[in-house]
Structure formats: C-alpha cells, structure tokens
Amino acid sequence: MSEPRTLLAIDQVSKKFGRVTAVDGISLDIRENEFFALLGPSGCGKTTLLRMLAGFETPSDGRILLDGKDIAHTPPNKRPVNLMFQSYALFPHMSVRANVSYGLEMEHLPKAEIRSRVDAILATTELVQFADRKPEQLSGGQKQRVALARALVKRPRLLLLDEPLGALDKKLRGAMQLELKRLQHEVGITFVIVTHDQEESLVMADRMAVLKDGRLLQCDTPHAIYEHPADRFVADFIGVMNFVPGKVSADGVMAVNGARIAGKVPAALSPGASAVASVRPERIRLFPSAETANRITGTVEALAYHGLDLQLHVRTPLSPRPFLVRVTADAADRRPVSSGDQVELGWDAADVRIFAE
C-alpha cells in the first residue's frame, strides 16, 4: 500500500477568546479517506478546533492547510468542507428533499443533476420514503440521516461531525456508529468527528487525537492509545484503568504499603520520583500462577454482572480505590466468587504502564 496522503494539515493553530486560550498551538495531520476523531472532555477545545475547520472561527495564530492551500481565512461558504451540526440544524420550513437539495442549489448546478444526486444520496441514507416530510415529522435517527445526507450530497473534501450521535439513545447509537463507518467507506470522504465519548472514538476512528485544556496530548490509532497512553490523563480518560500510587524504583514502582509493582519504567522518570503504576481491568487474572510477576491478595467488595463478563471491585492494600477486575463469564462459572471472599489478583509486568504523578 502506498503512503497515505495528508489531506488536512493543522499547523500550530491557536484560538484565543479575550484572555481565554481555547486552542493552544495544536498541530495535526489528517489523511485522505481517514475516519479521524477529536476526543476530549468538555472545554478541551475540540469544538473550537472543529469550528475553525468549518470556517465559523478564525485562528488567532497558525495555518490550516487543505490540499496544501491555507484556508484559515476562507469563509465557510467558500470551503470544500461541510459540517454536520450537533443539533442537526435542519431547515424546519423545508422538506427533507429541499433540505438536501439546498447545498447543490447554492452551487447553481443544473436541475436534473441536482435531482439525480439528491435521489442517489437519499437512497444511500435510506430516506427515499421520507423525502416529502418536514423535519418535525421525523424521528431522531431519521433527522440525523437527513443532516448527514445534506452534508454528503455536496461531496466535500472533508466532512466534520460535531457529536453526531449525542442526541440518540444508547441502542440506536451503537447501530449508527457502524452505519457511519459503513457510509464513510462507501462515499470515500474523509470524516473528522468530535466526541467526548471515548468508547465511540475507539469503535469508529482509524486514528484519534486526545485533547485537554486546548492542547494535544496524543494522536495515534485507538489501539496504540489504549495500550500505550501518553500520560496519566489519557490512561484514565480512555477506557478504565487501575492506578497504584508510589515511588519509582529500579524496575517498577514501590507502592505505599511497601509492595513492589514490576513494570518498565519510562526513561524520563528517575528513581524516587512520585509515580503511578497502572493496569487495565481485563489484564488482571484471578488466582494467578506462582510465577506471575505481580500478585496481591484482596477482598471482593462488590460484583457487577454484565452478561458478557463480571466486574469485581477488590479492596487491596495497594491503593485507596478498589481494583476493578473483569472476569469473563465462563471463567466466573468455573470458579465462582462472591462478595466478601478473599481472592488473589495477578498481572504481568508487560501489562503495567508507569506514569509521572
């Protein structure tokens, strides 16, 4: 496969509102045909960054290069970029067909071409039978598809999606995540999605950027970010993580109770510094073998059954918070545990990540 081409280069972009810095010197490359996620807690600057890509905000500093051309000061109606709004922003006085045609009418295309392109996108988004309805006659999922069709019909170089699934209920959201991925594949347009839902970006994105306080913390594939978070914040924000506070030692972290957690110490951390050792719940085994590097005995405080797996809260002397452990349903059936039981937990040194505190 050839080297993927960079479609959009965000180069040292900052945005200040008065004395508040919403976006602070972010640089990112988004590749052609990629499903890219901007992820972060509310107030991290992801929406401001998205609005700068759409043209509704102008960067205070930096460049936004689309196909090598700086579009930072191009008005929204003059960029080959479309945004799907969080509120969908469908025109309430227009039918579904009129909503979808609107963007093509602005390009002054021939009527016949508008008609055929609108028909095609309504078919792709399964909206043909709703073409004559007004937005208020549609369900949430249908509205979302109209918003998507309205943006996609313009065949933008880049489609921006602002929390596209936020207004849907949980079950529909799961279905729409896969639907969006399928559509992105089908139309071959680069998608940039903004979300605060880490699970959503893990499922959908080819690559994702984690933002906090206007800064970029990490940009990589979901797998790389999940397995090798750049810092403690990313480790905590993406998925679930157990943390053991302590001091850096030669080959791990010395916990407050004197136990040693074996793991690879990053070069930047010197012995004696405050640090946290961390491990994912699914990497912890119950009743480990004797040669497992890290073992600790604790008391089961609570059990939560999730169908696919069982989640245990285990109180240990290692940390003030109980350890979260995920046990598969069949493992739990083979050796049942119940609340109040003493259990031994174990995990490998390779599964431990150590971060500065």
């Binding site: 759409a54 043209g55 509704f56 008005p75 929204p76 109606n77 479309n82 945004l83 709004f85 969080q86 509120s87 922003a89 469908l90 025109f91 309430p92 006085h93 609107y102 963007g103 602005m106 390009e107 309805r133 007004k134 208020e136 006659q137 549609l138 369900s139 309205r150 943006a151 313009k154």
Partner: protein, 280 residues
C-alpha cells in the same frame, strides 16, 4: 368566565349594537335622530367622496405599516444579534416611549417638525439659511407619527421569532454554500414571517382608524376615516352617517384581523398535524 362575559356584553357588545342600530336611522333636520329605517347611510359610504377617504386612509396606513415593518424588523434583528445580557436592556429602550402618553408623544413631533422646530434649528446650526422646510401638516408627518407610535409593536412581534431562531440554522446555510444575503432570504426571513405578519396587522389596524395623529400632525383636514367619523359625531351632528362610517371601518379591521388569524391558524394546524405524524 361569567364576569368576563358580563364585562364584554356591557362594554363591547351593547355599545357596538347601539352604534350599528343608529346607522339604520335618518338624521333629524336640526341634528338629532329621526327614527325611520333606511339604508341611505350605507349607500353614502360608497359615495366616491367618502370611498376616496377610505382608500386614502388605507394607503396612509399601508405606507406606515411598510415603513414600520422594515425599520422594526431591522431593529429586532439587531437586538436579537446583540449579546444575550444586553437584549432585555435594548428591548426596554425600544418600548420606553410606550410609558408616556400618546398625545404627548404626538405633540413631541410638532416640536420637531414645526417651521421653527428642532429640525429647522439643527439645519440652521449646520449653516442652512434658506426657507424653513414645511414638514408639519403633511402626509409625511402623519406617516412619521403613525410609524413612531406603533414601531414598538413591530419590534416586539419580530423579536420573538428572531430570538428563538437556532443560530446554527444560519450557520448551516452558510456551511452549505449560501452567502449571507441568500441565508437571510431563504432561511431567516421565511422562519420569522409570522412575527412580521402579527406586527404588520397591528400597525395597519391601529393606523387606519387613527384620528389623533392625522388631526395633530396632518393639520386637521380629513385625510383619514377616523377624522371623518369624529367630525360626523361632533361637528356635523350626523350621528347615523357617523355610525355607518364607523361600522364600515370596523368591518375592514375585522376582515384584516380574520385573515391574519386564519393564516396563523393554518400554520399552527400544519405544525400540529406534523407533530401528530411524528408521534404516531
């Protein structure tokens, strides 16, 4: 319910019925009323002289409505676009003239438009030396007075739908390739038409029957029906004809109001029907 009904009957239905009854009698030779039944008064309403005054009133009221809608909509738009915390303050100032008496507000225009009034003095101050412009006692002065008095209604009526408009709709239009002007014409304006219609009907109905403004700023000639009615009752002493004119005026107002109510009802009905579909 019952007290409201009594109030409405005593203060609205009975007086109107009395005026209506009056319109079917003759005028007595020395004023007063000759109680013989006739349709003559209504026939006279359609006499070219009086029908002309009706048309003239409609034209003046229509012009005032047009100007009030354009100015009022622009003001409402500017207020709705201002930062949220400033909006109530701007609205307060827009409606402030309402707190003073209608007559005083109209007299203020005499002070302004008078041959040696504020505007002339201002022109002089800028070095103008010619004849003072004659502005008072013109149709323009009457229209200015009507626009000024009813402008707050239009601002309030247009502000309501403009402030409720989701700002993302305008952004979506821009995002889809529309210029600011096209966005206004195809998205903002159609969604705020109900407010414009409500404000316009208000100005038109209040203007066409107005008699104080044409009397004070129009110099006392009957330019408008309100003055004609006033004159029939208080000067000419022809109460039956005055009553017939008043009834014709009320009929025009009711027609305009009913047309607006019908249109608003249709729009509401369509919305309700649409809601029902989505729920069903």
């Amino acid at each position: 319910m019952a007290p409201a009904l009594v109030w409405l009957t005593a203060l609205m239905v009975v007086p109107c019925a009395l005026v209506l009854a009056l319109a079917f009698f003759r005028r007595g030779i020395y004023g007063g009323i000759d109680y013989t039944f006739t349709f003559e008064n209504f026939g006279l309403v359609f006499d070219p002289l009086y029908a002309g005054i009706f048309l003239n009133s409609a034209r003046i009221a229509g012009t005032a409505t047009l100007i009030a809608v354009v100015v009022g909509y622009a003001a409402a738009y500017a207020i709705a676009a201002a930062p949220r915390r400033w909006q109530p303050i701007f609205l307060f100032f827009a409606v402030l003239p309402f707190w003073s008496n209608y007559l005083i507000r109209t007299y203020a225009w005499i002070v302004l438009l008078n041959r040696e009034g504020l505007i002339t003095q201002l022109l002089r101050w800028f070095g103008y030396t010619g004849e003072p412009p004659s502005m008072l006692y013109t149709e323009g002065a009457v229209i200015a007075g009507l626009v000024y008095n009813y402008l707050p209604f239009v601002i309030l009526a247009c502000y309501a739908p403009l402030s409720r408009l989701n700002p993302e709709l305008a952004e979506a239009s821009r995002d889809l390739g529309a210029s600011a002007a096209t966005t206004f014409r195809r998205v903002i304006l159609p969604l705020t038409v109900p407010g414009i219609a409500a404000g316009a009907v208000f100005v038109f109905v209040l203007s066409i029957g107005n008699f104080v403004t044409p009397a004070l700023l129009g110099g006392g000639r009957f330019q408008m029906i309100g003055n004609l009615v006033y004159d029939q009752f208080l000067t000419a002493n022809d109460w039956p004809f005055g009553a017939a004119l008043a009834m014709a005026l009320i009929a025009i107002m009711l027609l305009v109001l009913m047309a607006q109510a019908l249109a608003a009802n249709r729009a509401a009905g369509r919305a309700a029907e649409a809601k029902g579909d989505a729920d069903g």
